[in-house]
Symmetry: C2
Subunit: 595 residues, 2 copies
């Protein structure tokens, strides 16, 4: 079974040395009291919970999966319910929720570190509390005071869990097509009818009640996405004292049998005359839902980050332990019948690829999370707006780049194990199967790339991208005179210039033919992702350079990993740019009938 | 459930129009009578068998898997045994086996087409007869006349099946470490003892007897790979009339629970005093085994080729059928609530990537197979030698490049399905899980790359690579004057030159430090793979150009796919070359303790 050591040292490096999170939080009235010690303590405690409670039930959860009985009851794998009880007991559900509703009021960035470790040790389990954050956010931002007062304390305490019910059999990406209906009732509530699929945690035995957030149409709603409203539909309609009232008409009618995340109940939900209450404005459900979606997209990135760390740790351990063949440059362990496979260059390439992506993606994810705390709490409105735009730019990158990297890295981790990686009990292939869904749900990675290129870059004439470019430029200015930074600053500057040209070129072509944007979007997102990682790796390299002789080997390893990133991973952009520039014609030329 | 239409048109294109297989075979005395009609008939009949018998039991085989009872009996999934009986009835086991032993004596290239279709429809099932080809080849090439006469007819008829027993718990890649022992007996036989793992088809209920080919050491054997001998160890020791004699001491003591190919029994075999007979010379087992390995490596390539075709066909069908969102350039199906997703550029990118790799890899695989027929049967010894070297060069590419492409393409096929791709009953995720093992077994793809760069290129000073370069050069000379071929010939010529330089550079660096070869090998193999594919795509484009106005849309599609390959896939080499050139230092700099 895989092992897991919470990567506290690197988490702290990113948090304190790279981002100076405590310093940033000090500028935010709400979080001014959060200091480094508190942050370290939360990470440490969180890591303990994950390693001790979640990891031991990860493999068994995969093997057992969830079960649906004839009467619609879903049973989660052995140990899931007990672990959830401990999670609630520890006060983890409300970590970053407002203290108004009983939360601990800690910053999002702390929640993010916890999410990484939870997903590393058990992605399937983590989806139960994970989706609840979206439900919490939607109610907190858009719900009426009555809904907030009734539901938020129960979600924050973890006594109830929540879901997001969007997808229907005939529509996922294209929510404009959705058919679920909501009829207004005399008492201000609604009666909902419809079928939802792929509902994570739609039914389970972890909590006594489940609060569904459901997209549906009012009878007079306009067609398309502008006719969708959001409703809160509880499994049991609560009484005034939060005790459970009548069972509502929303039932799990099927569990999906999936490639991975077997421990997560993926439900078909049949809604038949269920009572619901509107969240937000009529026909503005998509906007309310997007509050959930952005959080969920970052959350999906965290799922892959966790899995990458897991794959790295375990493949390193295996590569140290497994002896096979001699080093090409002569025996390295002459006392043994063969050398540990970590001596072989290509094994190292597979390990360092995982490491460089994991550490780079961690820096990106924590940075974005910290910016969410800033834009939600900064005293200056302009600053809030500026940072919110940056988060909007980076969100599709966190989702798509991290989940692509997650699939690649877990697959590399498994490859290091050779044939033993393909065997279920070693736990490496589960990481690959679990990681694979992250490229699909909460908006496929294609959708993320269209969001980035179309909405976040071209629609505002690249203003936010330019703001990011300014950060890059400032770093180049600042570090450009240091000779020992040249190996990092030069490829960063070079990529920045190429991206600028590429963006202009695609923008001009797309002006004449929108398919040009559609054809370039996926490689474009990957190039931007590499620019962001290059920027962060250059900053991390600077810190490591300054401390390389501190006697702490951590900085030595960080520097070598930075060099590996620029030598072996970032060059991928050369091809990506060529592919992006080759345009839509080679893709659109094939008539549909000829496929 | 996925559907499958044998891709006969494209198979025939490669066979007849690209390779002129019938013309080549006419020059080989053994196959002079094989004509185009016969080939087409075999492919057509083979395709029917696969679509009708193997496809319907593929998904159920994945769900059911194999079962091991307490008394060591392995039960294959429902329908596997019946399908095998029909396979035998149809005379398929001995398709390419010598008629001396009851085979049909058809060329290897025909066997290859059948392998592709069998694996497309059911990789797990195909592994039962698949491994037998290796056993057949080892006995046919290295066995004594007695062994041949006793065992080959039974394997050729399909009445018995065979295995290859190489791996042990502590050694896979490094066979020099293997511990299984063989004690000579007075009657010329041997008594074998040891434990083998990951033995595909090690035990099953398809045939009454199983013929194991086992690597073991003689008591006086030297250490390492030069002390390994090969033994034939039957499950039941046959009587003179081929009826079953005593049960031999080789038993399945465990079935592995794997990521995929669940229908294939992956066995731990415990060998306790089993009777065996030596195949080939003492201590020369590895050489005899390599006859099996090369066939097996090409066979693994065929597994991925089949899965890629399957993923392509089904994701195209889904993309035509599924409606979701409007084309970026305005509605294409205004009568429907949304457009079929095949209108979206990135969906097309995913489909065309699969198509271009599948068709390019098919051309490569059939070409190599046809060359095997040539080197085994050509009347001229020099010609045999020349072609054998070319096959040796291309074998690791077929194994590694095709299986990497297979994983990428099945994953893309699944991605086209969105969330539905992750659901088991749709059959797409099974292709990904099945495809994943192909990158590992029969020598990991790292091992293939070391074989290519180290043994096949550097060890003979690039002589064979130059011979391949001559083919490329001849094509450039021949087609270089045609303006309409420039878009294919130019990137081919450019890549050829770059590979030449790269090879020299790596060779020089590796001369001083062998880790330089180890660090460059994986990207190097991929670059060579792209050169081979570029060469074949250029030749295919030439044929398609000449017939593009023939009224047969097949050529139009071929031309567009060729253009897609050069515009969107081949540019990957730009990055690969940069990565290969960046050398070993960024990989080797990290001390083991710092990982």
């Amino acid at each position: 079974m895989p092992h897991y050591t919470p990567p506290l040292r690197d988490m702290q490096f990113v948090m304190h040395e790279l981002l100076d999170a405590a310093g940033v939080l000090k500028t935010l009235p709400r979080h001014a009291e959060v200091n480094r010690e508190l942050m370290d303590q939360v990470m440490e405690e969180g890591g303990k919970f994950c390693a001790e409670e979640l990891l031991p039930i990860n493999l068994v959860g995969d093997v057992e999966g969830c079960k649906l009985s004839a009467d619609g009851v879903v049973t989660t794998p052995k140990g899931f319910k007990q672990a959830y009880a401990k999670f609630v007991e520890g006060g983890w559900p409300g970590l970053a929720c407002a203290d108004t509703w009983g939360g601990q009021g800690l910053p999002h960035v702390m929640q993010t570190t916890m999410q990484e470790m939870m997903n590393a040790t058990n992605q399937a389990w983590t989806m139960y509390p994970g989706l609840t954050h979206g439900a919490y956010a939607a109610i907190a931002h858009h719900g009426s005071d009555t809904l907030k007062a009734r539901y938020l304390p129960m979600l924050v305490s973890g006594r109830w869990l929540g879901t997001m019910c969007l997808t229907e059999p005939h529509c996922g990406t294209d929510l404009g097509m959705l058919r679920s209906r909501a009829e207004p009732q005399a008492d201000g509530s609604f009666r909902l009818t419809g079928t939802k699929i792929f509902i994570s945690a739609g039914e389970h035995d972890l909590t006594e009640n489940i609060i569904h957030l459901v997209l549906a149409r009012l009878p007079d709603a306009p067609a398309g996405v502008k006719g969708i409203s959001l409703f809160l539909v509880p499994k049991f309609i609560p009484n005034a004292d939060n005790s459970l009232g009548p069972r509502n008409g929303i039932k799990c009618t099927r569990l999906e049998n999936k490639m991975g995340i077997h421990g997560s109940a993926t439900c078909e939900m049949t809604i038949e005359g269920a009572a619901g209450w509107m969240v937000g404005e009529p026909n503005r459900g998509l906007a309310a839902m997007f509050v959930m979606m952005n959080a969920a997209r970052l959350g999906v990135g965290m799922q892959s980050l966790g899995l990458m760390e897991m794959a790295y740790q375990n493949s390193v351990a295996y590569a140290r332990d497994r002896i096979q063949s001699r080093s090409l440059t002569g025996p390295k362990a002459p006392d043994k019948p063969a050398d540990p496979i970590i001596v072989h260059p290509d094994v190292r390439r597979m390990l360092l690829t995982q490491r460089a992506y994991t550490e780079g993606c961690r820096a990106l994810a924590y940075w974005v999370s910290l910016m969410i705390d800033e834009y939600e709490n900064h005293p200056d409105a302009d600053e809030r707006k500026r940072i919110e735009a940056m988060v909007a730019l980076l969100t599709p990158i966190v989702k798509a780049f991290l989940t692509d990297a997650g699939f690649e890295c877990t697959s590399l981790g498994m490859q290091v194990f050779g044939g033993h990686g393909y065997i279920r009990e070693n736990g490496m292939e589960q990481l690959v199967r679990d990681a694979r869904i992250n490229m699909i749900y909460e908006g496929t990675n294609t959708i993320q790339s269209l969001d980035l290129l179309g909405r976040k870059v071209l629609q505002n004439n690249g203003a936010t991208l330019k703001a990011f470019g300014k950060l890059v430029y400032d770093l180049i200015e600042k570090e450009g005179t240091r000779e020992d930074m040249a190996e990092f600053i030069n490829p960063l500057a070079d990529l920045g210039q190429k991206l600028e040209k590429l963006t202009t070129e695609i923008g001009m072509k797309a002006f004449g033919n929108q398919d040009e944007a559609g054809a370039a979007a996926v490689p474009y997102l990957r190039v931007v992702g590499h620019l962001v990682l290059s920027y962060l790796w250059a900053r991390m390299a600077r810190i490591a350079l300054d401390k390389q002789n501190s006697g702490d080997d951590f900085y030595k390893a960080k520097l070598i990993t930075a060099r590996f990133y620029f030598a072996k991973l970032q060059p991928e952009t050369a091809s990506l740019i060529r592919v992006a520039r080759s345009g839509a014609a080679p893709i659109m030329a094939m008539e549909e009938a000829l496929f």
